[in-house]
Symmetry: D2
Subunit: 343 residues, 4 copies
Amino acid sequence: VTRDFRSDNVLPAAPEIVDAVVRANAGSMTSYGGDELTVRVRERCCEIFETEVEVFPILSGIAGNALAISVLTPPWGAVFCHAEAHIEREELGAASFYSGAKLVPVGGAGGKLQPEAVTAALASARKTDMAVPACVSITNATEAGTVYSAAELRALCDAARAANLRVHMDGARFANAVAATGAAPAELSWRAGVDVLTFGATKNGAMTADMIVLFRKELAPELGIRIHRSGHRPSKMRFLSAQLEAYLKDDLWLRHARHSNATAARLAAGLAPHVELLQRVDANIVFARFPPALAAALRGEGFQFFDWGIFGEDVYRLVCGFATTEEEVEGLVEAVRGKMNKR
Amino acid sequence: VTRDFRSDNVLPAAPEIVDAVVRANAGSMTSYGGDELTVRVRERCCEIFETEVEVFPILSGIAGNALAISVLTPPWGAVFCHAEAHIEREELGAASFYSGAKLVPVGGAGGKLQPEAVTAALASARKTDMAVPACVSITNATEAGTVYSAAELRALCDAARAANLRVHMDGARFANAVAATGAAPAELSWRAGVDVLTFGATKNGAMTADMIVLFRKELAPELGIRIHRSGHRPSKMRFLSAQLEAYLKDDLWLRHARHSNATAARLAAGLAPHVELLQRVDANIVFARFPPALAAALRGEGFQFFDWGIFGEDVYRLVCGFATTEEEVEGLVEAVRGKMNKR
Amino acid sequence: VTRDFRSDNVLPAAPEIVDAVVRANAGSMTSYGGDELTVRVRERCCEIFETEVEVFPILSGIAGNALAISVLTPPWGAVFCHAEAHIEREELGAASFYSGAKLVPVGGAGGKLQPEAVTAALASARKTDMAVPACVSITNATEAGTVYSAAELRALCDAARAANLRVHMDGARFANAVAATGAAPAELSWRAGVDVLTFGATKNGAMTADMIVLFRKELAPELGIRIHRSGHRPSKMRFLSAQLEAYLKDDLWLRHARHSNATAARLAAGLAPHVELLQRVDANIVFARFPPALAAALRGEGFQFFDWGIFGEDVYRLVCGFATTEEEVEGLVEAVRGKMNKR
Amino acid sequence: VTRDFRSDNVLPAAPEIVDAVVRANAGSMTSYGGDELTVRVRERCCEIFETEVEVFPILSGIAGNALAISVLTPPWGAVFCHAEAHIEREELGAASFYSGAKLVPVGGAGGKLQPEAVTAALASARKTDMAVPACVSITNATEAGTVYSAAELRALCDAARAANLRVHMDGARFANAVAATGAAPAELSWRAGVDVLTFGATKNGAMTADMIVLFRKELAPELGIRIHRSGHRPSKMRFLSAQLEAYLKDDLWLRHARHSNATAARLAAGLAPHVELLQRVDANIVFARFPPALAAALRGEGFQFFDWGIFGEDVYRLVCGFATTEEEVEGLVEAVRGKMNKR
């Protein structure tokens, strides 16, 4: 049993996905995405999202976000995002590297943007020559482990559209948001007003494959060029597409996300009597404050988790993934209970 | 039997490599390259190159070239390369996108740069404010299917170093060059004067994994940052590293390349009596001129190959890979012979 | 009598400066800065700053700031600046366009950065992969019309240097800061810890000429290249240098600044009994809250001034320049007094 | 008497232009181009070009070219230009810095692009993923001192337009081209098919002011933003516009150019019996081969001129400007004649 709660990306891949890759390894296929698997991934996404979409398999969430944003803003654009957004805090400026644009961080409790806050930030930007407001980037599920409902998203996108801004969604954990809300994928994306979605798979059971789902087809040629010239279009695309096809098949992506969310809920419920939790647990992440001695003791027993200093002192992030087991969660809960009671 | 000679990247991956990926899919591992497989790939490269190197697994050759070059030149630098180089002709400006630098194309028969030609291009550049000469990029094996000997490389690198330029090698088919010359990998890289090598694996049997092998360790931090901020550092790095470890194990890479080269030699020998060949066949690529009726007839029978118009009218490129069989080659030779004799 | 308080740059140039330009218009001179006037500007700056400096005449403050910053940060760097800084709010992303870096806005009363706030922002940045902290940009006099003392600057630069950051100063109104503090130019720049200063002249009586004063001479070649390739090195440099030479001669720059500061102080004193002032008036700018009817009435009489919405509703900015007269100030004060008393 | 034939930009400015600057120095004016002088420059350009244009005064030819090109190409575009073009050889990559695009050098005798050569380069580019062909940049008068006729230009632009490319003209010496051909400015620009013209003034008698003349008004907002964010929009724009208004008034620009051209023709005629001339002398530049002893002797007597090594060994460039006198030319001719006869 591993005791690794550092991130969803320390986990292995799902067997269905690895099997699909093995199966894809047969015969010659047109390279650079001209293969049948890639075609099928697009078709499957059209079904899932109930509309025509273009799909670009991509290596990483950072690339997916940055490239998606780059077709929504000119180099002198402003991209409004949450102050804790991954694009703002963790990607070493990738979105600006690819697009040239300026990220404008906006505060908000629980990792969520509020329409009023976006509107105010926009009004402030327009008072000066800061940058030309171009788009809003929304993370769902958020970096704080919370989830926007379809209604919340619509309100947020409406605020953006009223100001003529486009909308990007960082969906590194989109599956967790769909699982948490029970809303249709379309409701949490284009029907709410999202123009392009970075749809994560790696964190949720794939090997190394996410995808950019583009709802504005007219941007596809430009996006294709940007992907090619940044080296993000693998020649043997089949091996990314195979992962994505398996990910989407028989709702594997949703089953994984439901498991992760449920596991995190169980973890939160187990920890709550003993330690402070810092955010609502809507998805698969729990933020807990551990006294220093507790954190050290847990680590001494092999539990792994990251400091999350931007949420305060002694705060740690605990992530449950598709492969996190009930035993692992119970083990952690037991360890915390035992150590806290001894004090 | 496939009849696909379009590119080495239409082929599947080697079973050893797929098996390694399957085996890597166990337990939790530190993400972003902190895993043991990535460590072992570096160690193996140190052995193969007989020196300390830093290794960065990377998704594609385009990314590998562009990122490698970006640490050898300032944004106002000039990068001298062959006029037919992949970085000049096929990558939609990736090297300039990543580095800001200007590519300065230099002519040369057989896809090869000559030291005198580089020196002349450099002297010309220095007469004006074109760009600040920064590095030379050499492809080995070349895009024309020829190979530089170790002595040729040394002479070329000496010319570069005499002018204080750094040297990048596009080694998308480095294995084919090593196999063709029998030279040690070190002789074809750092001992000749190469600072950083983009070492291909995808074209030679991997799924989607190349690597940047950096001989100047002091550039590693900058390269690491550039890779991260361009989204080229996969979180589940293990799945790239597993491919590379298997690729390097028991000389699989060399065995593949020897096979590809031998297969291409056999193809060239079989075609030579019937059609014009345009380049020396040192590695795994054959360029042949087919009369239009022949090309059409071959395609009608299911043979696949690309037009190679930059080498002249009616010129086609035929690529043999690790999985190209004797039967496939004989099939193509027979078809050409039959059709040409009928005329 | 003009009644124009919109900005220091709506004013004409000083006659001494125009005369110098006229005098410079004789005979042939080496272009691109190889002329004697440019040499003398550098020499004069060495005297004024009591150290060896390199000087680059430049067209505009935006270019001066952005180019100066571009030699202090890598493309993945973080540049900490005040949230109201001109580089953050008014330059359409110029600093990021030239450098690639991310601006990280830091709050602070009166337009001033506090060492503790910079240190906290830095610590927060270091908790994540936001960007690599590279430098701090300080505006003196600030956009709020306040001035850092030499001691305040030293404390701020010490905080930056303790964290290994370099320091840029936006000195669009550096003259006003020197005049206000009475400190030596060296005390307000390199002795405090500033690496490069954008030294304004246009706002303070020149036609169109500012200068980058570089205290780290080792960065001069790179800066020179960046200036050339961005088209900011005029061929007939003499006409910029002539302005700067005259600007620095016989303390014209200081006399202008003393006049502007004194005029603003007089304006503030005259307005204070009648309307709310929003910032300390250390330099040549007054921020006042005018009831809407007052603002409209003043504008109806030909007074001109800009809304300054980022400081609150009904806030206006009133700028006094080298050519603003006592009569103009008295005229505005009288008008405000008359209209406020009538109410 | 100066003996300076190095460049047109070593010369001073015309008295009419300096006077205009002195006159512009009165009262307050709206900054950043909102002044009346700038309005009048645009109106005058509309008359001269017989169509509606947008005009952006700009500091330098490098900036003018690079910014103009940046609105004609995406970052992944190819810009076809002559291999000796200033943008390719002398601007340290400015056009690529501003636009991201790749310059594709095309050969051609006498510094001139031929339609066939452009078409061939384009066809070659389209065979590979080099870059997306976007525009052609034409220099008139050329860097070789030759001039395109209106008919030649039309043919060249037709070739570009047939391929859906836009057209930029580097008109650093546009006045010399108009003077040489006698064609209407419109014939040498938009009527031939030019989309945007960088119209030089500095080399032809201004202090430091060129202008971008935009024939596609729909690109004006983007160009304005690009100019602002690169620091190329001076706050006291009046001082650039005053130069340009005077430059265009009473055909001063054409009178200067006619003088320069005539002076160069006289110089060429005087030199031809004694030394080899390398290009047709259509405009104001003469390229001559001087034996080393002659070059040294001339320089010993105070004559100044630049080596022009890219045109061959012992080749020198001699430039005549608006202020070059008959005496200066005769002095040089006499000196050459005397020294060559002695040998």
